[in-house]
Protein backbone atom coordinates (compact mmCIF):
# COMPACT_ATOMS: atom_id res chain seq x y z
CA UNK A 1 0.00 0.00 0.00
CA UNK A 2 1.38 3.38 -1.03
CA UNK A 3 0.82 6.78 0.54
CA UNK A 4 -0.06 10.00 -1.31
CA UNK A 5 3.64 10.68 -1.84
CA UNK A 6 3.99 7.38 -3.72
CA UNK A 7 6.01 5.85 -0.87
CA UNK A 8 5.34 2.27 0.24
CA UNK A 9 3.71 2.14 3.70
CA UNK A 10 5.28 -0.57 5.82
CA UNK A 11 2.88 -2.72 7.90
CA UNK A 12 5.66 -3.25 10.44
CA UNK A 13 7.41 0.13 10.65
CA UNK A 14 10.82 0.65 12.23
CA UNK A 15 12.17 3.51 14.29
CA UNK A 16 15.93 3.44 14.81
CA UNK A 17 16.06 -0.34 14.53
CA UNK A 18 13.06 -0.93 16.81
CA UNK A 19 10.44 -2.86 14.88
CA UNK A 20 6.70 -2.36 15.48
CA UNK A 21 4.68 -5.46 14.62
CA UNK A 22 1.88 -3.28 13.29
CA UNK A 23 1.38 0.49 12.96
CA UNK A 24 -1.09 0.79 15.86
CA UNK A 25 0.06 2.33 19.15
CA UNK A 26 -1.80 3.82 22.07
CA UNK A 27 -1.57 7.55 22.81
CA UNK A 28 0.01 8.83 25.99
CA UNK A 29 -2.49 9.74 28.70
CA UNK A 30 -5.25 7.49 27.39
CA UNK A 31 -3.97 4.07 28.41
CA UNK A 32 -2.57 4.55 31.91
CA UNK A 33 0.73 2.68 32.19
CA UNK A 34 -0.44 -0.07 29.83
CA UNK A 35 -0.99 -2.50 32.68
CA UNK A 36 -4.62 -1.33 32.98
CA UNK A 37 -5.31 -2.44 29.39
CA UNK A 38 -4.31 -6.06 30.04
CA UNK A 39 -7.87 -6.78 31.20
CA UNK A 40 -9.21 -5.93 27.77
CA UNK A 41 -6.73 -7.28 25.20
CA UNK A 42 -3.31 -8.89 24.76
CA UNK A 43 -0.84 -6.00 24.73
CA UNK A 44 1.20 -7.99 22.19
CA UNK A 45 -1.57 -7.51 19.61
CA UNK A 46 -0.56 -3.90 18.96
CA UNK A 47 2.66 -2.23 17.87
CA UNK A 48 3.34 -0.32 21.06
CA UNK A 49 2.07 1.31 24.22
CA UNK A 50 2.87 4.95 24.90
CA UNK A 51 2.69 5.39 28.65
CA UNK A 52 1.15 8.15 30.73
CA UNK A 53 3.27 11.32 30.72
CA UNK A 54 5.97 10.97 33.36
CA UNK A 55 7.99 13.61 35.15
CA UNK A 56 11.22 13.47 37.15
CA UNK A 57 9.39 13.81 40.47
CA UNK A 58 5.87 12.56 41.31
CA UNK A 59 3.00 14.94 40.48
CA UNK A 60 -0.47 15.15 42.02
CA UNK A 61 -2.08 16.71 38.97
CA UNK A 62 -4.82 19.33 38.83
CA UNK A 63 -8.02 19.71 40.80
CA UNK A 64 -11.29 18.24 39.44
CA UNK A 65 -13.12 18.68 37.15
CA UNK A 66 -10.28 17.58 34.90
CA UNK A 67 -12.41 16.62 31.93
CA UNK A 68 -15.26 18.17 29.96
CA UNK A 69 -17.02 17.15 26.80
CA UNK A 70 -18.38 18.93 23.75
CA UNK A 71 -20.01 17.82 20.53
CA UNK A 72 -17.08 16.15 18.83
CA UNK A 73 -14.49 15.75 21.51
CA UNK A 74 -13.22 16.34 25.00
CA UNK A 75 -11.06 18.88 26.79
CA UNK A 76 -8.78 17.57 29.52
CA UNK A 77 -6.51 19.07 32.07
CA UNK A 78 -5.17 16.18 34.14
CA UNK A 79 -1.99 18.05 35.04
CA UNK A 80 0.41 15.15 34.48
CA UNK A 81 -0.48 13.18 37.59
CA UNK A 82 2.16 10.44 37.77
CA UNK A 83 4.39 8.65 40.29
CA UNK A 84 7.63 10.13 38.89
CA UNK A 85 10.13 8.26 36.73
CA UNK A 86 11.60 6.31 39.65
CA UNK A 87 8.14 5.46 40.98
CA UNK A 88 7.30 4.08 37.56
CA UNK A 89 10.50 2.07 37.31
CA UNK A 90 10.22 0.60 40.81
CA UNK A 91 6.49 -0.11 41.01
CA UNK A 92 5.02 -0.36 37.54
CA UNK A 93 7.65 -1.39 35.00
CA UNK A 94 8.05 -4.96 36.42
CA UNK A 95 4.41 -5.55 35.43
CA UNK A 96 5.33 -4.75 31.82
CA UNK A 97 8.08 -7.40 31.51
CA UNK A 98 7.33 -9.91 28.76
CA UNK A 99 4.36 -7.97 27.42
CA UNK A 100 5.83 -8.57 23.97
CA UNK A 101 5.22 -5.14 22.54
CA UNK A 102 7.18 -1.89 22.44
CA UNK A 103 6.96 0.25 25.54
CA UNK A 104 7.37 3.96 24.94
CA UNK A 105 7.78 6.29 27.90
CA UNK A 106 6.44 9.80 27.45
CA UNK A 107 8.53 12.32 29.40
CA UNK A 108 7.82 15.90 30.46
CA UNK A 109 10.04 18.41 32.22
CA UNK A 110 10.22 21.99 33.39
CA UNK A 111 13.85 22.38 32.34
CA UNK A 112 16.18 20.75 29.83
CA UNK A 113 18.11 19.34 32.76
CA UNK A 114 15.01 17.48 33.99
CA UNK A 115 14.51 15.87 30.58
CA UNK A 116 18.19 14.86 30.55
CA UNK A 117 18.01 13.33 34.02
CA UNK A 118 15.00 11.26 32.94
CA UNK A 119 16.77 10.10 29.78
CA UNK A 120 19.69 9.01 31.91
CA UNK A 121 17.47 6.99 34.26
CA UNK A 122 15.58 5.42 31.34
CA UNK A 123 18.79 4.48 29.51
CA UNK A 124 19.34 1.53 31.89
CA UNK A 125 15.71 0.46 32.05
CA UNK A 126 15.25 -2.58 29.82
CA UNK A 127 11.43 -2.45 29.76
CA UNK A 128 11.45 0.91 27.95
CA UNK A 129 12.10 0.61 24.21
CA UNK A 130 11.66 4.23 23.14
CA UNK A 131 11.29 7.71 24.61
CA UNK A 132 8.59 10.12 23.49
CA UNK A 133 9.47 13.70 24.47
CA UNK A 134 6.49 15.87 25.29
CA UNK A 135 7.55 19.37 24.29
CA UNK A 136 4.22 21.02 25.09
CA UNK A 137 5.23 21.61 28.73
CA UNK A 138 5.99 25.11 29.98
CA UNK A 139 9.69 25.92 30.06
CA UNK A 140 10.26 27.39 33.51
CA UNK A 141 13.54 29.07 32.51
CA UNK A 142 11.82 30.73 29.54
CA UNK A 143 9.03 32.21 31.66
CA UNK A 144 6.65 29.29 31.16
CA UNK A 145 6.46 29.43 27.37
CA UNK A 146 6.01 25.96 25.91
CA UNK A 147 9.29 24.28 24.82
CA UNK A 148 7.59 23.21 21.64
CA UNK A 149 6.88 26.66 20.22
CA UNK A 150 10.47 27.77 19.65
CA UNK A 151 12.63 25.92 17.15
CA UNK A 152 15.93 26.88 18.83
CA UNK A 153 14.67 25.59 22.19
CA UNK A 154 13.48 22.37 20.57
CA UNK A 155 16.87 21.91 18.96
CA UNK A 156 18.63 22.45 22.28
CA UNK A 157 16.27 20.15 24.17
CA UNK A 158 16.37 17.30 21.66
CA UNK A 159 20.12 17.45 21.05
CA UNK A 160 20.76 17.42 24.81
CA UNK A 161 18.57 14.33 25.21
CA UNK A 162 20.17 12.77 22.13
CA UNK A 163 23.59 13.15 23.75
CA UNK A 164 22.45 11.02 26.65
CA UNK A 165 20.28 8.25 25.26
CA UNK A 166 20.84 5.61 22.64
CA UNK A 167 17.15 4.67 22.69
CA UNK A 168 14.92 5.90 19.88
CA UNK A 169 13.77 9.47 20.54
CA UNK A 170 10.33 10.49 19.36
CA UNK A 171 9.37 14.15 19.67
CA UNK A 172 5.67 14.83 20.25
CA UNK A 173 4.86 18.09 18.48
CA UNK A 174 2.38 20.66 19.66
CA UNK A 175 -0.15 21.98 17.13
CA UNK A 176 -0.41 25.27 19.02
CA UNK A 177 2.01 26.98 16.67
CA UNK A 178 1.97 28.82 13.35
CA UNK A 179 4.23 26.50 11.35
CA UNK A 180 4.65 23.00 12.74
CA UNK A 181 7.20 22.02 10.08
CA UNK A 182 9.82 24.42 11.49
CA UNK A 183 9.68 22.66 14.85
CA UNK A 184 9.60 19.24 13.17
CA UNK A 185 12.73 20.08 11.14
CA UNK A 186 14.49 21.35 14.27
CA UNK A 187 13.72 18.08 16.03
CA UNK A 188 15.01 16.08 13.07
CA UNK A 189 18.18 18.18 12.85
CA UNK A 190 18.80 17.68 16.58
CA UNK A 191 18.73 13.91 16.15
CA UNK A 192 15.12 12.88 16.73
CA UNK A 193 14.31 9.46 15.28
CA UNK A 194 10.60 10.22 14.74
CA UNK A 195 7.96 12.81 15.51
CA UNK A 196 4.44 12.39 16.84
CA UNK A 197 1.89 14.64 15.15
CA UNK A 198 0.11 16.01 17.22
CA UNK A 199 -0.47 16.75 20.86
CA UNK A 200 -3.81 18.27 21.94
CA UNK A 201 -5.00 21.73 20.92
CA UNK A 202 -5.39 24.32 23.64
CA UNK A 203 -9.01 25.00 24.43
CA UNK A 204 -11.63 25.68 27.06
CA UNK A 205 -15.32 25.17 27.69
CA UNK A 206 -17.71 27.25 29.73
CA UNK A 207 -20.55 25.60 31.65
CA UNK A 208 -23.59 27.88 31.38
CA UNK A 209 -25.56 26.01 34.04
CA UNK A 210 -22.73 26.25 36.60
CA UNK A 211 -21.86 29.74 35.34
CA UNK A 212 -18.21 28.73 35.55
CA UNK A 213 -15.45 27.27 33.40
CA UNK A 214 -15.99 23.57 32.81
CA UNK A 215 -12.43 22.72 33.91
CA UNK A 216 -11.02 23.79 37.25
CA UNK A 217 -7.79 24.66 35.41
CA UNK A 218 -9.83 26.72 32.87
CA UNK A 219 -7.60 25.70 29.93
CA UNK A 220 -7.10 22.14 28.72
CA UNK A 221 -6.13 20.04 25.73
CA UNK A 222 -8.73 19.30 23.06
CA UNK A 223 -8.86 15.81 21.59
CA UNK A 224 -11.34 13.54 19.86
CA UNK A 225 -12.92 13.32 16.40
CA UNK A 226 -13.15 17.13 16.08
CA UNK A 227 -9.36 17.49 15.72
CA UNK A 228 -8.82 14.80 13.07
CA UNK A 229 -8.68 17.12 10.02
CA UNK A 230 -6.10 19.37 11.71
CA UNK A 231 -4.05 16.38 12.80
CA UNK A 232 -4.12 14.98 9.26
CA UNK A 233 -3.00 18.36 7.94
CA UNK A 234 -0.10 18.47 10.39
CA UNK A 235 1.01 14.97 9.36
CA UNK A 236 0.73 15.86 5.67
CA UNK A 237 2.73 19.09 6.07
CA UNK A 238 5.45 17.36 8.10
CA UNK A 239 5.61 14.43 5.67
CA UNK A 240 6.48 16.87 2.87
CA UNK A 241 9.66 18.00 4.61
CA UNK A 242 10.83 15.25 6.99
CA UNK A 243 13.00 12.21 6.36
CA UNK A 244 12.23 10.58 9.76
CA UNK A 245 8.99 8.65 10.41
CA UNK A 246 5.83 10.41 11.59
CA UNK A 247 3.43 8.92 14.10
CA UNK A 248 -0.04 10.34 13.49
CA UNK A 249 -2.49 10.99 16.30
CA UNK A 250 -5.68 12.98 16.76
CA UNK A 251 -9.27 11.85 16.64
CA UNK A 252 -8.75 8.32 15.30
CA UNK A 253 -11.98 6.50 16.20
CA UNK A 254 -11.76 3.50 13.82
CA UNK A 255 -9.47 1.73 11.38
CA UNK A 256 -10.64 3.92 8.51
CA UNK A 257 -9.39 7.01 10.36
CA UNK A 258 -6.11 5.20 11.01
CA UNK A 259 -5.72 4.45 7.30
CA UNK A 260 -6.28 8.13 6.47
CA UNK A 261 -3.26 9.04 8.61
CA UNK A 262 -1.10 6.38 6.97
CA UNK A 263 -2.18 7.52 3.53
CA UNK A 264 -1.18 11.17 4.12
CA UNK A 265 2.28 10.36 5.39
CA UNK A 266 2.23 8.71 8.83
CA UNK A 267 4.24 5.52 9.40
CA UNK A 268 2.26 4.58 12.50
CA UNK A 269 -0.68 5.97 14.47
CA UNK A 270 -1.72 6.36 18.07
CA UNK A 271 -5.22 5.63 19.35
CA UNK A 272 -6.27 8.02 22.10
CA UNK A 273 -9.81 9.13 22.88
CA UNK A 274 -11.25 6.05 21.13
CA UNK A 275 -9.79 3.93 23.94
CA UNK A 276 -12.24 5.65 26.31
CA UNK A 277 -15.11 4.56 24.07
CA UNK A 278 -13.96 0.95 24.23
CA UNK A 279 -10.64 -0.01 25.88
CA UNK A 280 -10.26 -2.81 23.33
CA UNK A 281 -10.27 -0.32 20.44
CA UNK A 282 -6.48 -0.28 19.86
CA UNK A 283 -6.52 -4.06 19.38
CA UNK A 284 -9.72 -3.97 17.32
CA UNK A 285 -8.26 -1.30 15.01
CA UNK A 286 -4.99 -3.28 14.72
CA UNK A 287 -6.88 -6.43 13.73
CA UNK A 288 -9.01 -4.62 11.16
CA UNK A 289 -6.06 -2.82 9.65
CA UNK A 290 -4.24 -6.13 9.24
CA UNK A 291 -7.30 -7.64 7.57
CA UNK A 292 -7.84 -4.68 5.25
CA UNK A 293 -4.18 -4.03 4.47
CA UNK A 294 -3.60 -3.88 0.76
CA UNK A 295 -7.23 -3.26 -0.16
CA UNK A 296 -6.47 0.44 -0.59
CA UNK A 297 -3.49 0.29 -2.95
Amino acid sequence: MKNVFGKEICFSPEIKGIKFKNPILTASGTCGFGVELKDFFELSSIGGIVLKGTTLLPKDGNECPRIAEFNGGIVNSIGLQNPGINGFINDISPKLYNCNTNIITNISGNTIDEYQQMCEIIENEKVIDCIEINISCPNVKMGGISFGTDSNTVFELVSNCRAITSKPLIVKLTPNITDITKIALSAQKAGADAVTCINTFKGLLFDIEKNDFSLKNIVGGVSGPAIKPMALFAVYECAKVLDIPIIGVGGIMNFNDALEFLKVGASAVQIGTATFKDPANPAIIARLIEREWGKYD
Binding site: G32, E36, F40, I67, E69, N71, I74, P225, F276
Partner: protein, 235 residues
Protein backbone atom coordinates in the same frame (compact mmCIF):
# COMPACT_ATOMS: atom_id res chain seq x y z
CA UNK B 1 -13.08 -6.77 37.28
CA UNK B 2 -14.48 -4.55 34.54
CA UNK B 3 -15.50 -6.40 31.39
CA UNK B 4 -16.85 -5.39 27.98
CA UNK B 5 -20.46 -6.48 27.93
CA UNK B 6 -22.90 -6.36 25.02
CA UNK B 7 -26.43 -6.22 26.34
CA UNK B 8 -29.92 -5.56 25.03
CA UNK B 9 -32.69 -3.36 26.38
CA UNK B 10 -35.25 -5.44 28.26
CA UNK B 11 -37.41 -2.49 29.24
CA UNK B 12 -37.16 1.30 29.31
CA UNK B 13 -39.57 2.66 31.90
CA UNK B 14 -40.28 6.39 31.77
CA UNK B 15 -41.05 7.61 35.29
CA UNK B 16 -41.75 11.27 34.57
CA UNK B 17 -40.56 14.00 32.23
CA UNK B 18 -36.86 13.50 32.90
CA UNK B 19 -36.40 10.26 34.89
CA UNK B 20 -36.38 6.70 33.61
CA UNK B 21 -35.27 3.21 34.54
CA UNK B 22 -33.27 1.33 31.94
CA UNK B 23 -33.38 -2.44 32.29
CA UNK B 24 -30.56 -4.17 30.44
CA UNK B 25 -30.37 -7.89 29.74
CA UNK B 26 -26.74 -9.04 29.84
CA UNK B 27 -27.64 -12.71 29.14
CA UNK B 28 -25.36 -14.18 31.79
CA UNK B 29 -24.50 -13.86 35.42
CA UNK B 30 -22.08 -11.08 36.31
CA UNK B 31 -20.67 -10.55 39.80
CA UNK B 32 -21.78 -7.06 40.79
CA UNK B 33 -21.04 -5.66 44.22
CA UNK B 34 -23.52 -3.14 45.62
CA UNK B 35 -22.31 0.40 44.88
CA UNK B 36 -20.42 -0.56 41.71
CA UNK B 37 -21.12 1.18 38.41
CA UNK B 38 -20.94 0.71 34.64
CA UNK B 39 -19.87 3.00 31.82
CA UNK B 40 -22.62 2.69 29.23
CA UNK B 41 -23.07 3.65 25.61
CA UNK B 42 -25.66 3.13 22.90
CA UNK B 43 -24.44 5.35 20.09
CA UNK B 44 -21.50 5.64 17.69
CA UNK B 45 -18.82 8.34 18.11
CA UNK B 46 -20.81 11.30 19.45
CA UNK B 47 -21.10 11.91 22.39
CA UNK B 48 -17.48 10.86 22.64
CA UNK B 49 -17.58 9.52 26.19
CA UNK B 50 -19.52 6.67 27.75
CA UNK B 51 -21.79 7.59 30.65
CA UNK B 52 -21.24 6.27 34.20
CA UNK B 53 -24.24 4.91 36.13
CA UNK B 54 -24.46 3.05 39.41
CA UNK B 55 -26.36 -0.19 39.48
CA UNK B 56 -29.88 0.55 40.76
CA UNK B 57 -30.89 -3.09 40.86
CA UNK B 58 -29.70 -6.43 39.54
CA UNK B 59 -31.21 -9.86 39.38
CA UNK B 60 -31.70 -12.68 36.85
CA UNK B 61 -29.13 -11.21 34.41
CA UNK B 62 -31.04 -7.90 34.23
CA UNK B 63 -29.18 -4.77 35.36
CA UNK B 64 -31.28 -1.72 36.16
CA UNK B 65 -30.11 1.89 35.96
CA UNK B 66 -32.04 4.84 37.40
CA UNK B 67 -31.24 7.80 35.15
CA UNK B 68 -32.08 11.50 34.95
CA UNK B 69 -31.99 13.19 31.54
CA UNK B 70 -29.28 15.83 31.75
CA UNK B 71 -27.69 16.02 28.31
CA UNK B 72 -27.30 14.32 24.96
CA UNK B 73 -26.10 10.94 26.29
CA UNK B 74 -28.89 10.48 28.81
CA UNK B 75 -31.43 11.70 26.25
CA UNK B 76 -30.28 9.06 23.76
CA UNK B 77 -30.48 6.40 26.47
CA UNK B 78 -33.99 7.52 27.38
CA UNK B 79 -35.14 6.80 23.81
CA UNK B 80 -33.80 3.25 23.61
CA UNK B 81 -36.38 0.64 22.72
CA UNK B 82 -36.75 -3.00 23.68
CA UNK B 83 -34.09 -5.26 22.08
CA UNK B 84 -31.84 -2.37 21.06
CA UNK B 85 -28.15 -3.02 21.72
CA UNK B 86 -26.18 -1.36 24.48
CA UNK B 87 -22.49 -1.51 25.42
CA UNK B 88 -21.50 -1.77 29.07
CA UNK B 89 -18.06 -1.48 30.60
CA UNK B 90 -17.88 -2.71 34.16
CA UNK B 91 -18.69 -3.42 36.87
CA UNK B 92 -16.21 -0.84 38.15
CA UNK B 93 -15.24 0.54 41.51
CA UNK B 94 -15.06 -0.87 45.01
CA UNK B 95 -18.69 -0.68 46.17
CA UNK B 96 -20.17 -0.63 49.65
CA UNK B 97 -18.78 -3.35 51.89
CA UNK B 98 -19.66 -4.93 55.24
CA UNK B 99 -22.54 -2.56 55.84
CA UNK B 100 -24.96 -4.91 57.57
CA UNK B 101 -27.34 -2.99 59.86
CA UNK B 102 -26.26 0.37 58.45
CA UNK B 103 -28.80 3.12 57.81
CA UNK B 104 -28.95 3.78 54.04
CA UNK B 105 -29.49 7.32 52.76
CA UNK B 106 -30.05 8.33 49.15
CA UNK B 107 -30.51 12.03 48.39
CA UNK B 108 -31.90 12.84 44.94
CA UNK B 109 -30.27 10.71 42.23
CA UNK B 110 -28.01 9.36 44.99
CA UNK B 111 -30.72 6.78 45.60
CA UNK B 112 -29.37 4.76 42.63
CA UNK B 113 -26.47 2.88 44.32
CA UNK B 114 -28.26 2.97 47.68
CA UNK B 115 -31.28 1.06 46.35
CA UNK B 116 -29.27 -1.98 45.21
CA UNK B 117 -27.13 -1.92 48.34
CA UNK B 118 -30.07 -1.75 50.70
CA UNK B 119 -31.73 -4.63 48.84
CA UNK B 120 -28.62 -6.81 49.22
CA UNK B 121 -28.04 -5.94 52.89
CA UNK B 122 -31.73 -5.48 53.73
CA UNK B 123 -31.20 -1.98 55.13
CA UNK B 124 -33.56 0.62 56.48
CA UNK B 125 -33.50 3.31 53.75
CA UNK B 126 -34.15 7.04 53.57
CA UNK B 127 -34.96 8.61 50.21
CA UNK B 128 -34.67 12.39 50.43
CA UNK B 129 -35.81 14.65 47.58
CA UNK B 130 -36.67 18.33 47.17
CA UNK B 131 -40.31 17.85 46.35
CA UNK B 132 -42.91 15.18 45.66
CA UNK B 133 -42.12 13.05 42.62
CA UNK B 134 -44.71 11.03 40.76
CA UNK B 135 -42.70 7.80 40.89
CA UNK B 136 -42.36 7.08 44.59
CA UNK B 137 -42.99 3.35 44.06
CA UNK B 138 -40.22 2.79 41.52
CA UNK B 139 -38.29 0.33 43.63
CA UNK B 140 -39.08 -3.06 45.16
CA UNK B 141 -37.62 -1.71 48.39
CA UNK B 142 -39.56 0.43 50.80
CA UNK B 143 -38.14 3.87 51.47
CA UNK B 144 -38.75 6.40 54.21
CA UNK B 145 -39.51 9.37 51.98
CA UNK B 146 -38.51 12.88 53.00
CA UNK B 147 -39.20 16.02 51.00
CA UNK B 148 -37.83 19.50 51.60
CA UNK B 149 -41.24 21.08 51.09
CA UNK B 150 -43.26 18.37 52.81
CA UNK B 151 -45.25 17.43 49.69
CA UNK B 152 -44.52 13.73 50.28
CA UNK B 153 -43.58 11.73 53.36
CA UNK B 154 -41.98 13.71 56.14
CA UNK B 155 -40.81 17.31 55.77
CA UNK B 156 -37.10 17.98 55.99
CA UNK B 157 -33.76 17.34 54.33
CA UNK B 158 -31.62 14.19 54.40
CA UNK B 159 -29.74 15.31 57.51
CA UNK B 160 -33.05 15.92 59.36
CA UNK B 161 -34.06 12.40 58.37
CA UNK B 162 -30.80 10.93 59.63
CA UNK B 163 -31.12 12.79 62.93
CA UNK B 164 -34.59 11.33 63.39
CA UNK B 165 -33.88 7.76 62.22
CA UNK B 166 -30.33 6.99 63.24
CA UNK B 167 -30.32 4.87 66.34
CA UNK B 168 -26.99 3.61 67.57
CA UNK B 169 -28.68 0.67 69.27
CA UNK B 170 -29.89 -0.59 65.88
CA UNK B 171 -27.61 0.98 63.30
CA UNK B 172 -23.90 0.23 63.00
CA UNK B 173 -23.21 3.12 60.63
CA UNK B 174 -24.47 5.03 57.59
CA UNK B 175 -24.09 4.53 53.86
CA UNK B 176 -24.95 7.52 51.69
CA UNK B 177 -24.94 8.96 48.20
CA UNK B 178 -26.19 12.34 47.01
CA UNK B 179 -25.19 15.93 46.26
CA UNK B 180 -21.64 16.93 47.23
CA UNK B 181 -22.75 19.54 49.79
CA UNK B 182 -24.92 16.99 51.61
CA UNK B 183 -22.06 14.48 51.68
CA UNK B 184 -19.60 17.10 52.96
CA UNK B 185 -21.99 17.93 55.79
CA UNK B 186 -22.64 14.26 56.52
CA UNK B 187 -18.92 13.50 56.76
CA UNK B 188 -18.53 16.23 59.42
CA UNK B 189 -21.71 15.12 61.21
CA UNK B 190 -20.62 11.46 61.40
CA UNK B 191 -17.12 12.42 62.53
CA UNK B 192 -18.55 14.45 65.39
CA UNK B 193 -20.95 11.68 66.41
CA UNK B 194 -18.37 8.95 65.80
CA UNK B 195 -20.63 7.14 63.35
CA UNK B 196 -18.95 4.84 60.77
CA UNK B 197 -19.74 6.16 57.31
CA UNK B 198 -19.41 4.94 53.73
CA UNK B 199 -20.01 7.54 51.05
CA UNK B 200 -20.32 7.04 47.29
CA UNK B 201 -18.81 9.98 45.38
CA UNK B 202 -19.55 11.21 41.92
CA UNK B 203 -16.94 12.76 39.64
CA UNK B 204 -16.62 13.58 35.94
CA UNK B 205 -14.82 10.68 34.28
CA UNK B 206 -13.75 9.72 30.78
CA UNK B 207 -12.76 6.05 30.80
CA UNK B 208 -14.14 4.61 34.04
CA UNK B 209 -11.39 2.00 34.04
CA UNK B 210 -8.36 3.80 35.46
CA UNK B 211 -6.75 4.78 32.16
CA UNK B 212 -7.18 8.54 32.05
CA UNK B 213 -6.93 9.91 35.63
CA UNK B 214 -9.78 12.35 34.91
CA UNK B 215 -11.60 11.46 38.12
CA UNK B 216 -8.58 11.45 40.46
CA UNK B 217 -9.01 13.76 43.43
CA UNK B 218 -7.88 14.31 46.95
CA UNK B 219 -9.94 12.41 49.50
CA UNK B 220 -8.77 12.10 53.11
CA UNK B 221 -5.23 13.33 52.17
CA UNK B 222 -4.81 10.73 49.42
CA UNK B 223 -5.31 11.19 45.71
CA UNK B 224 -7.64 8.44 44.61
CA UNK B 225 -9.15 7.45 41.29
CA UNK B 226 -12.90 7.63 41.96
CA UNK B 227 -13.50 5.04 39.22
CA UNK B 228 -11.22 2.40 40.73
CA UNK B 229 -10.30 3.22 44.34
CA UNK B 230 -13.83 4.64 44.81
CA UNK B 231 -16.55 5.54 44.28
CA UNK B 232 -17.11 4.46 47.87
CA UNK B 233 -14.92 5.98 50.56
CA UNK B 234 -14.99 4.80 54.16
CA UNK B 235 -14.78 7.28 57.01
Amino acid sequence: MAERIFGKIKENVRLDIDHFILKVDVFRHIEIKPGQFFMIRAWEDIPVLNRPFSVFDYKDNIIQFFIKIKGKGTELLSKLKIDEEIFLLGPSGNGFQNCENYLAVGAGMGIAPINYTSTIFNLETIYAVNTHVSYMNFSDSEFNVWTLDGTSGEKGNAIDAIKKFYNNKIHKGIIACGPEKFLEYLIKFCKEKNIPLQVSFEEKMACGTGLCMSCAKKVKDDIIKICQDGPVVRY
